[in-house]
Symmetry: C2
Subunit: 190 residues, 2 copies
DNA sequence: TGATTTTTTTGATATTTATCAAAGGTTTTT
DNA sequence: AAAAACCTTTGATAAATATCAAAAAAATCA
């Protein structure tokens, strides 16, 4: 578990033994059950989780009360409600574990302490922020001006391992369509 | 111009005289004409611009050859094709100046030198990356599962000063609709 | 200013997608 | 294994949006 985190961070910067020790001290092992909410609408999110197995779903309710899935993050990855965590404002999304998961948790205070103590972590923070920005830009591009069937095919190409295991209802709103429409698209593409 | 950059950066970190001098040395003044491309599809983008007046438009062509506007950035702001600049891969978008603009330019090499020399800039980089991530998440949320009229109204609320001055054709694809539809929406909301 | 080009609007029609209701499947729970 | 809960599919219809073509309006240029 910790090794998985080390190797994930190793993609961004080179870690010394001292760094690794600091990491091991700060991150706390947590178990999260399937469907549990990692972050909640209306509450400030002060957690940063490193998830090394499974995936999470981001969702919220639109003006009509319809549940909208806005994002998925697949392990190995950091998970937090980015906007809330960064700004300290209440989150407008929920984050839900889609499987029983094990994770390593870091509080916002501890993260800031890492930032203060070592510029290397500042760099990790920057690189992760950059990857988040790229991630959501990709989602954006997929949504813009392509018919739903094309969007679905692109999603399949991008996450071939996952899409067929995620309940259809969640994928639908991620693509900006209803479940019924996605069901028909799937059928038509067999 | 430089003062505007200092004050913009001052929102993120406290700058010392030495920092300011370093900034003044690295950033180069540039003029950019209306409609000029700041970055181009297929080319690697190695520029980071600080724009303190006007705004830029991001666009690309979809599979049918239709031009899609994917983003706007309004001064004062940094502008770059984020993904290309960060990854070193060719850009898949074009960035176009929407007015005659003046800007301060920083090369990727100089930026990296700033990062190496001073962790403070690493932090600025992180904070800017974070704000970019938030920016594109907001666009994403707007697109997800709301009828076009609602999306347009939200856009108006968010950028009241700008939307009425941006040519309608560009706003349309940003909202994920055609110009004709946007024209009708505008009419219906008078 | 008048001519030219670009942008926006309008109309008619086609296509895509949503909605609502109900029936089948699957999975989970007891 | 049966019951309950949940998820997916199907059908009929309505609503939203796209497309194509042309006219009107606005901006730019000579």
């Amino acid at each position: 578990m910790l090794e998985s985190l080390h190797s994930y961070l190793g993609n961004f910067v080179q870690l010394t033994d001292a760094d690794i020790q600091m990491i091991n001290e700060k991150f706390v092992y947590t178990k999260i059950k399937k469907n549990e909410l990692i972050a909640e609408n209306g509450k400030v999110c002060n957690r940063l989780l490193f998830v090394n197995k499974g995936y999470v779903r981001f969702f919220h309710f639109d003006d009509n009360g319809t549940e909208i899935t806005s994002d998925f993050y697949f392990a190995p990855t950091f998970v937090t409600t980015y906007t809330s965590f960064l700004t300290g404002l209440p989150s407008h999304v929920n984050v839900q574990a889609m499987c029983n998961m094990e994770a390593l948790e870091l509080s916002k205070n501890d993260l800031n302490e890492l930032y203060e103590r070592h510029p290397k972590f500042e760099r990790v923070g920057r690189l992760i922020a950059e990857s988040v920005a790229i991630h959501s830009e990709e989602h954006l591009f997929m949504l813009l001006n392509q018919p739903a069937g094309v969007r679905y095919r692109k999603l399949l190409e991008k996450y071939p391992l996952y899409i067929n295991t995620i309940p259809l209802q969640y994928i639908a709103s991620y693509l900006g369509i209803t479940q019924e429409t996605l069901s028909r698209i799937r059928k038509s593409q067999l």
